[in-house]
């Protein structure tokens, strides 16, 4: 199943004033089994785009949708949230089972599937813990396991590691790539971290500042599986430089606007 975003536009209106134009005519596609990162300065509408794909927001103009067959019993998308969004009253096991419950799967099947993804994400032994008993990195593993458990056609990730410290983030990126190698999920990965985007993605969609438009789609010429050594390769550095050049002036504008 392909993800097709065709001229998506969104303006947030409030009662007074003209409203804020978040996205203006964004167009790109994501192929099956592709890992596409979306980067841009603050306020480029990255999260808006992802929320549209998740069905939490609808575009004012243009279309957001999917092309091709969706296998029966699978949801089109599942989301991994920046702030984890785990249910504090549910144990790790129950959190991972949440989407399966809503899909109406029987209890025994839920338990079995959840167990598998708990193992896959390295949460084995933590099934009975509550989120507040876990570190940030472990919490986001639960978030990833919960999303993978429903077997979505497309995995949506909204800055999933930005709330983690730098070292944990690096480890989690590697683990996510490992999981991706095994599951070959289509992933749309929103981030403001250019290095992260280039290291993980097949292609990087660079958005402009508000209102967000596609500035360029940068293909990353790095082999898979990605290794840490590639962080020094010319192909990596060129892609990073190219993207930074595209959004540097806009990021500065965003910074100054924040100060005003």
């Amino acid at each position: 199943m392909r993800v097709v975003i065709d001229g998506a536009a969104k303006t947030y209106r409030d009662r007074s004033g003209p409203g804020v134009e978040a996205l203006a005519g964004v167009t790109f596609t994501v192929e099956p089994e592709e890992l596409v990162a979306v980067v841009g300065p603050s306020g480029c509408g990255k999260s808006t785009l992802l929320n549209m794909l998740a069905g939490l927001l609808s575009p004012d103009a243009g279309g957001v949708g999917f092309e091709g067959e969706l296998p029966a019993g699978r949801p089109p998308t599942a989301m991994v949230f920046q702030e984890f969004a785990l249910f504090p009253w549910r144990t790790v096991q129950a959190n991972v089972e949440f989407g399966l419950e809503e899909a109406g799967r029987p209890a025994a099947e839920r338990r079995r599937i959840a167990r598998g993804f708990i193992e896959l994400t390295g949460l084995g032994g933590f099934e009975g813990k509550y989120p507040h008993q876990l570190s940030g990195g472990m919490r986001q593993r639960v978030g990833i396991a919960r999303a993978l458990a429903v077997d979505p056609a497309v995995l949506l990730m909204d800055e999933p590691f930005s709330a983690l410290d730098a070292q944990t983030r690096q480890l989690m990126q590697e683990e996510l790539l490992g999981i991706w190698e095994r599951t070959r999920k289509t992933i749309v990965y929103v981030t403001h971290n250019i290095h992260e985007a280039v290291w993980m993605a097949d292609r990087v969609v660079v958005l402009s500042r508000r209102p967000g438009r596609v500035l360029e789609i940068v293909a990353v010429e790095l082999k898979r599986p990605r290794t840490e050594r590639m962080l020094g390769e010319p192909a990596f550095l060129h892609a990073v430089e190219r993207i930074w050049a595209l959004i540097k002036s806009q990021a500065r504008e965003a910074l100054l606007e924040g100060a005003a």
Partner: protein, 261 residues
């Protein structure tokens, strides 16, 4: 030169001995005061005298009868009020129409001191058990409804969005997100309601009853039996302590995710 210890001003010492000594000291002082005869026992009976009277009343079965009557009233009233309050609070928190209709109604009726309604309730329901239970029900209903409503409305929007993104419908949202999110507020309401219901119980039993702890206290005063009166007061304070302890236990049981943090 060592680094100066600047955190001294922040430290607070615990005094475990003083905790016990304060209470024990008061009791001893009280006992001594009444023994010396400076204060006539009609005004202030001695602690040991109160204890003895309590034991005597327990033997005769008088105490148990009063406690059982009061406990029955408070449990039924509290239960009804809590259930009704949670149900209404949930409805008002979840449905826009219920909120539009319910919030002005609650705001208008909430400030009425519930004890003022007792005469009306007696008129409607008679002087028997129903009016006493009803006034307690009303007193518990409002804090429960208001707290449940606030708890539901303050459910984390991120969690609601997460639930919806995994396909949760309205019923799932209420059961799996809003209700657990509101539980801490619901328990705060229960504790508030427990205090209120004790107050209303005593007031109702003083106004129109022939049994119960409130009646015991008032009747003892009429008969100048100050010792019995004090037994009633001690009983009420024990009842308050017990309900608080029970609710705290129940809260730990129902909200295990907040147990240690």
């Amino acid at each position: 030169m060592p680094v100066p210890d600047r955190a001294r001003a922040l430290r607070r010492r615990e005094h475990p001995v003083a905790r016990v000594a304060g209470l024990a000291g008061l009791l001893v002082l009280w006992e001594l005061l009444t023994r010396t005869g400076w204060v006539p026992p009609l005004f202030l009976p001695s602690p040991l005298g109160v204890l003895a009277a309590g034991v005597e009343m327990l033997r005769s079965g008088e105490l148990l009868a009063h406690v059982a009557t009061s406990l029955g009233r408070i449990l039924v009233g509290f239960g009804l009020g809590a259930l009704g309050g949670v149900a209404v609070g949930l409805a008002v928190g979840v449905f826009g129409l219920a909120e539009a209709v319910g919030t002005p109604l609650i705001a208008a009726t909430f400030p009425i001191p519930k004890i003022a309604l007792l005469p009306l309730l007696i008129l409607w329901l008679g002087i028997g058990e129903a009016s006493k239970v009803a006034v307690i029900t009303l007193g518990v209903f409002f804090p429960m409804a208001i707290n449940t409503y606030a708890g539901v409305r303050h459910a984390d929007p991120l969690l609601l969005r997460a639930a919806v993104s995994f396909g949760a419908g309205r019923a799932s949202l209420v059961r799996k997100v809003m209700l657990p999110a509101a539980l801490p507020m619901i328990f705060a309401g229960l504790k508030l309601g427990a205090g209120t219901s004790l107050l209303l119980l005593v007031a109702a039993e003083m106004i129109a009853a022939s049994s119960g702890i409130g009646f015991l206290v008032l009747n003892a005063q009429n008969l100048m039996e100050t010792t019995k009166l004090m037994v009633g007061i001690v009983l009420l304070s024990l009842l308050g302590l017990a309900s608080h302890w029970a609710l705290a236990r129940l809260e730990r049981l129902c909200i295990p995710w907040r147990a240690e943090s």
